[in-house]
């Protein structure tokens, strides 16, 4: 194959850049990125935390769910610059440092609540946050369905995910 002349390619676009300083999974981070960079892309590509997935970029599927200042939120509907000063938690912070699974993750494994795994980080982040909220959990079938609404899964049909939430509550003494 004939070798072509290597094109001259700039390092990045000429978008105005902003410095975003925030805490991610307990670590202080400061990066300079395009002003329009989405938080989802910031986490995945600037920080290399690819566990947060992008399924729709319009806030419907929930695959991109992270915790923003302690609350579950869609990173695709947040600009990185909006997260200036914020405290972000991603799926990578949920298991122990040695890799031991969090009870929610353990419950998913026991209940076959994931197949392709693409929606799973968003599901886990959503459920972990709901369990973080004070007060009793509604662990009826409908209560759990309500908890899961807002996270799409195309593989499992949800039945095992509902069982996993119940099992997680058991493991965490919240049942």
């Amino acid at each position: 194959m004939k070798r072509m002349i290597k094109p001259s390619i700039p390092e990045h676009s000429d978008d105005p850049r902003v410095t975003v300083t925030l805490t991610v999974n307990g670590e202080a981070v400061s990066r300079t990125v395009s002003v329009r960079m989405l938080l989802s892309d910031f986490l995945r590509h600037e920080l290399g935390l690819t566990g947060t997935h992008v399924g729709c970029e319009h806030g419907v599927c929930g695959c991109c769910t992270v915790h923003i200042d302690g609350k579950a939120g869609r990173s695709c509907l947040t600009l990185a610059v909006q997260a200036n000063g914020a405290d972000i938690r991603t799926i990578e912070s949920v298991a122990d440092a040695d890799g031991a699974l969090h009870p929610v993750q353990q419950a998913f494994k026991e209940c076959h609540a994931l197949q392709c795994g693409f929606c799973t980080p968003g599901m886990v982040m959503n459920i972990v946050n709901r369990f973080d909220e004070p007060g009793p959990l509604d662990l009826t079938d409908d209560g759990i369905r309500d908890m899961l609404s807002g996270n799409l899964c195309r593989c499992t049909g949800y039945i095992n995910i509902i069982a996993a939430v119940r099992r997680a509550a058991e493991l965490m003494g919240r049942a």
Partner: protein
């Protein structure tokens, strides 16, 4: 689906924020971003400037004063939904807010943002219309209060001027002893309402309707008070015939045409059913003679 380029400001004061808006006719206010960001990602919205008001002083908080629940601009849906004082002051808050999208959206999206977005199928604008509330706008010329009937002007159009920021919304309290109800029909849980109906009713000592407020979303280009139905039901004992008449009188309020999720004729059917159901439910919750 990435947004097109914009200038970004994160002012610390309201005056700064208003000044930026005044300087750029294509600027947009960014609060929760749950309506704006999807539109920007699809590039159906391309504001030249974003004014991020999350750090503006004085825009947080919910207070009960002067007969209303006052919600400042950066109050998230979920904060409003779970606020103990607000829920007590008007149980419709909890009843309506649980229908707004899904919890992660409610964690970020703001009450005032939803009012400004003015989607005719949205629940928060309906709540304001039902209760006859108001909003407060801050512009370069100063502050003004806008009543709800003047605020919602048409399809996703409000009375907010391009250089104004809505700094708070005021939701009237539920009158003591009044009954309340809200429900909606959607395609999926958390979707926008195909039709939503809310009702507030107070009964006299004979259990007849003393006052009644009825409003619907999803049926026209903005949430609508169902004034004809209210007039028919005032003073009534809420018999099935009364309810039928009120429901039928409301059909002309359905002004939309068929769309992919619902035909106008289905909306009329659902509206009738919801009106009857919500009036009955609200009446059950009302205490007879409470407003004497």
């Amino acid at each position: 689906m990435k947004p097109s380029l914009f200038g970004y400001h994160a002012p610390k004061t309201l005056a700064e924020a208003v000044a930026i808006l005044a300087s750029d006719a294509d600027a947009a206010v960014l609060a929760g971003g749950q309506s704006l960001l999807p539109a920007m990602n699809f590039r159906v919205a391309a504001p030249s400037t974003l004014v991020d008001i999350q750090h503006v002083a004085g825009l947080k908080g919910i207070t009960i004063k002067d007969g209303a629940i006052t919600v400042r601009a950066m109050t998230r849906h979920r904060e409003f939904e779970l606020d103990a004082d607000a829920r007590q002051a008007n149980p419709l808050v909890a009843e309506v807010m649980q229908h707004v999208a899904h919890v992660p959206i409610r964690n970020r999206g703001t009450v005032v943002g939803s009012l400004c977005h003015a989607d005719p199928s949205a629940e928060v604008p309906l709540l304001l219309v039902l209760l006859g509330g108001s909003v407060v706008a801050q512009g370069p010329q100063g502050t003004r209060e806008i009543e709800t009937e003047d605020f919602f002007q048409g399809f996703m159009t409000t009375a907010r001027r391009a250089d104004e920021i809505i700094v708070e919304a005021r939701f009237p309290l539920l009158p003591a002893g009044a009954g309340w109800a809200f429900d909606e029909v959607t395609r999926r849980h958390g979707d926008f309402a195909l039709v939503g109906v809310g009702c507030v009713v107070a009964l006299d000592a004979q259990s007849k309707v003393q006052t009644i407020q009825l409003a619907a979303c999803g049926i026209a280009d903005r949430p609508a008070r169902l004034k004809e139905a209210e007039a028919l039901l005032a003073g009534s004992s809420l018999t099935p015939a009364d309810l039928d008449a009120a429901a039928n009188a409301s059909l002309s309020a359905v002004s939309g045409s068929d769309d992919m999720h619902a035909s106008a004729s289905y909306r009329r059917r659902a509206l009738k059913a919801l009106i009857k159901r919500m009036v009955i439910k609200a009446a059950e919750r009302a205490h007879a003679g409470a407003l004497t």
